[in-house]
Amino acid sequence: MKEIRLHGRGGQGAVTAAELIAIAAFEDKKFSQAFPAFGVERRGAPVMAFARIADQPIRVRSQIYEPDYVIVQDVTLLEVVDVAGGLKPDGKIMINTDRPKEKLGLDTEAEIVTIDATTIALEELGRPIVNTTMLGAFCGATGEIGLEGLNKAILDRFTGALGENNLKAIKTAYERVSQ
């Protein structure tokens, strides 16, 4: 089983991203689970969401304390949240930033993957909403979900031009981290 923790801010779609991971994994014929860290946080406050992917039905329902992967939608969270907490040493953390990874001051043995998702999202979506773009990066950096399944999940969720633009943003992010 692979466990993923997502960090974002209220209104940035972290829960939707977790949901899309679950749908994409299911498209890949795997079992999956996604849920928010339930809170009363309002727009702008730091929030978390979780996802699990496995070959068997998933029964465990606790939060995730030792994730294989961490997705950070907003680099400013590094100052207020221990985003790498419990991250497995052989895991990966994907961070939306244009800063070089050595300047992030992250305390982890895991691989750090940076991507300027905000710029990609502004170019492709016209808005700095990076939840889907970061999924492209997750897909490219980990291979835990397939691009095809992710694209299908996106089109189920977003219709029309918004869906197509999200696919473009995902593809750009996917290619950047795959290079």
Binding site: G10, V40, E41, R42, R43, G44, A45
Partner: protein, 292 residues
């Protein structure tokens, strides 16, 4: 200006209208005040244990009972001879218009010396925007959604101030966060008049109404300038004052800025719905004499 009695660090959404209302109410009431509040956005955003934004004594009990809790505070204070303390209920519209209306009726009926403030954002916003008795016509909420069989909410907004007037409450007023001087004056006046008072404050909700960041005060002005939300005050059942609207705007100016009314501009019959809202605004203008 004195330091606010509602401390920062509360967890309301960025751009929320409610804390602006609370700040203004507390400015007017001053530190010699006790507040009772129901469950709702105000409660969960201002009192996450072990913290509190309140610099005046404050109590929460349940969703349906702040008027009864405040009634108890009032009679206890009376027993102790402390009749100089301002006593407020500050509640949202779900609690006020729906689940708590029985307690409010009792509070009015018994004639307690309490000012009941309703910050009105026109739906159950704390739980994610479901229809309340305050939701206006055609607003899309999560329990009156748009669909092939539904153009949004099909029940008129309950006239809560009229219900307060009908109870014989000696002071009843509506106010808006966009007019802070008027709002503070009304709170002060309610506290000077003995007996139960009801003040309903229009307070936009950025997530529930779905509008652009920073537009909170702009919308609070528009709802008054379109005459959808008339600002008035009743003393002993008599209409004693209204805020005049100098330049009446068409309701579209207000509706088009909000996601909850977006469908009115493209669904079949939308024009008729908008005309119905305009008719409500026009009736308000006439009934309260809002125009010169």
């Amino acid at each position: 200006m004195q330091e606010s009695l509602f401390a920062p660090g509360h967890r309301a959404c960025a751009g929320c209208g409610m804390p602006i209302a609370i700040k203004l109410v507390l400015d007017a009431a001053g530190p010699n005040t006790i507040v009772a509040s129901p469950t709702g956005c105000l409660e969960v955003t201002s009192t996450p244990f072990p913290e509190s934004s309140w610099k005046v004594p404050w109590i929460h009990s349940l969703f349906e009972n702040p008027a009864s809790v405040a009634s108890g505070i009032e009679i206890a204070l009376k027993k102790f001879g402390r009749t100089d303390i301002n006593l407020l209920v500050i509640a949202g519209d779900g609690s006020t218009f729906d689940i708590g209306i029985g307690s409010i009726s009792g509070m009015f009926d018994r004639g307690h010396n309490i000012t009941y403030i309703c910050y009105d954002n026109e739906a159950y916003m704390n739980t994610g925007g479901q229809r309340s008795g305050s939701t206006p016509f055609y607003a899309s909420t999560t329990t009156t959604p748009i669909g092939t069989q539904s153009p949004g909410n099909l029940v008129r907004k309950k006239d809560m101030p009229a219900i307060a007037v009908a109870h014989g409450a000696p002071y009843v007023a509506t106010a808006s966060i966009a007019y802070p001087v008027d709002l503070r004056r009304k709170v002060k006046r309610s506290l000077e008049i003995k007996g139960p008072a009801y003040i309903q404050i229009n307070a936009p909700c950025i997530t529930g109404w779905s509008y652009a960041e920073g537009d909170t005060i702009e919308l609070a002005k528009l709802v008054v300038e379109t005459c959808i939300c008339p600002l008035y005050e009743y003393v002993n059942g008599e209409l004693v004052g209204v805020k005049k609207v100098r330049n009446k705007r068409p309701v579209e100016d207000y509706l088009k800025t909000q996601g909850r009314y977006k469908h009115l501009f493209h669904v079949e019959g939308g024009e008729e719905y908008i005309a119905n809202i305009q008719a409500i605004a026009d009736r308000n203008a006439e009934k309260f004499g809002l125009l010169d």
